[in-house]
């Protein structure tokens, strides 16, 4: 590997515009450049475009303008009225959602092996073997043959993360993955994400859990009104924000009152 590649951005989000109808503008010219190995936590008020941003990066939303590139290659591009998506490149990104979205009619192992088999034509034996290893790593080895309805929320969410990892993504997106969980189940999911972080998995995450954000992030982006308001290391954005809007938001979520 030559030196310039290491500093080339992993993900490059340029001038994203996204609106629902004429009046609801969710993203208004949003730009983010993410380097390899970075763990970006996106925070901000509801309706500020955080989740929409992640959905756009995953290719789940149409956009009105802008583009997203992975490893220097654009895979989402607004051309006229159409959003052109390169599905081959998009497959290198994994996403975990707030509501698990496991396939309820399939067992845990079947949830894990479906995509590797259908996308990469991997053999069932080989995919199952890899699935066992991941489940084992996440403390879910005993659940391989269970169905999603037999699992707790925390277990389901860990399975959802395992399912996304089966495709060896270059980037993981986490959209409020602990928001639907009972408080006592949050830690087990966060532990799995921290484990990934330690292994150097690049990730972009939306969360309302500021303590977790501080623990996992290498960089925090405060997003409001569909644009990036502040962008910096967690100590700055969460601890000593420079922007007035960030400060207001941080004070509110940390309930700082004197």
């Amino acid at each position: 590997m030559t030196a310039p590649i290491a500093s080339a951005p992993l993900l490059c989000i340029r001038d994203l515009h996204k609106s629902y109808g004429e009046h609801i503008k969710v993203l208004q010219g949003l730009n983010i450049e993410m380097k390899p190995g970075e763990r970006v936590v996106v925070i901000g008020p509801s309706g500020g475009g955080k989740s929409t941003l992640l959905r756009v990066v995953m290719g789940l939303e149409q956009i009105q303008a802008g583009s997203v590139s992975l490893g220097g290659k654009p895979y989402i591009d607004a051309r006229g009225r159409k959003t052109v998506i390169d599905t081959e490149l998009r497959r290198k990104i994994g996403m975990v959602f707030q509501h698990y979205t496991l396939f309820p009619h399939l067992s845990i192992m079947e949830n894990l092996v479906l995509a590797p088999r259908k996308v990469n034509a991997e053999s069932r034996a080989s995919a199952t073997e890899r699935g066992r290893k991941i489940l084992d790593r996440f403390g879910l080895a005993a659940k391989a043959d269970a169905y999603p309805s037999q699992l707790s929320g925390g277990q389901k969410q860990r399975v959802a993360i395992a399912r996304a990892l089966m495709l060896d993504p270059q980037l993981m997106l986490f959209d409020e993955v602990t928001s639907a969980l009972d408080p006592e189940l949050v830690a087990e999911v966060e532990a799995v994400i921290l484990q990934l972080a330690e292994q150097g998995m690049p990730m972009m995450m939306v969360t309302h859990d500021m303590w977790f954000a501080r623990n996992v992030a290498s960089r925090v982006i405060f997003c409001a009104g569909g644009v990036v308001v502040e962008d910096g290391p967690p100590e700055q954005v969460l601890g000593h924000p420079r922007e007035e809007r960030t400060r207001e938001f941080i004070n509110r979520v940390f309930h700082i009152k004197t």
Partner: protein, 223 residues
């Protein structure tokens, strides 16, 4: 005038009633198989990308849901032969009428269960990069079919009961034979009660089963 009931006459007609029941069950089973298949196709047609196909399927369903089954049956038995120029036996007419009826009501069942699978499952499919074929065959359809099962069973029970209408075109089903016995013996109370009880004995356990299956299915698919 006082009425004396004599249920002792019934065992004499047990064989005839059993034969009628057999005809009813055969007809119902045949129309369930054909009707569910038809309903599935219409259900898909109703979410087709082509507006024309959607309109045709929609009109079909509204027509059969909006008119009495008895009229549909009479129309097929009396009018269709005039148009086609072919005589239809009462068995063929009954099968066509009940199949179309079953197709119409079960297409609605499939349509709503396809809808119920929801956008989040679709998001998951896309995030995993599943090819279109796998999205439909491995994720959406199996869930839609599982969700449809309880309502489909209810549809089957409805069909089983509605099938009594085919006696009106002279098919020797349970209802037809019951009516004949009742007329010939002048014992309508005993005979018709017995016939009603036979229908009930078959339909009631099925309705209970539907409730149980529905609960289990919903629990499983709630994940």
């Amino acid at each position: 005038m006082t009425m004396t009931l004599d249920f002792a006459i019934l065992p004499r007609f047990a064989d005839a009633l059993a034969l009628g029941l057999w005809t009813t069950l055969k007809l119902t089973a045949l129309c369930i198989i054909l009707g569910v298949g038809l309903g599935f196709l219409i259900g898909l047609a109703r979410s087709s990308r082509s507006a024309l196909i959607r309109a045709i399927a929609g009109t079909f369903v509204e027509f059969f849901r909006g008119t009495p089954v008895l009229i549909q049956l009479f129309w097929i038995f009396f009018c269709l032969p005039l148009i086609l120029g072919v005589e239809l036996s009462n068995f063929v007419s009954a099968t066509i009428a009940l199949t179309l009826y079953m197709g119409a009501i079960s297409s609605e069942t499939f349509r709503s269960s396809l809808k119920a699978v929801g956008a989040e499952q679709m998001d998951a499919c896309i995030a995993l990069g599943l090819p279109r074929r796998a999205q439909i065959l491995n994720v959406i359809l199996p869930q839609a079919v599982l969700r449809a099962i309880p309502t489909l069973l209810s549809n089957c029970i409805s069909l089983f009961k509605e099938s009594a209408l085919v006696s009106a075109v002279g098919m020797a089903d349970l209802m037809f034979i019951g009516q004949n016995i009742s007329n010939n013996t002048a014992r309508p109370v005993e005979v018709l009660t017995a016939v009603a009880l036979i229908y009930f004995t078959i339909a009631f356990p099925l309705t209970r089963a539907v409730t149980l299956i529905e609960k289990r299915m919903l629990r499983k698919l709630a994940a």
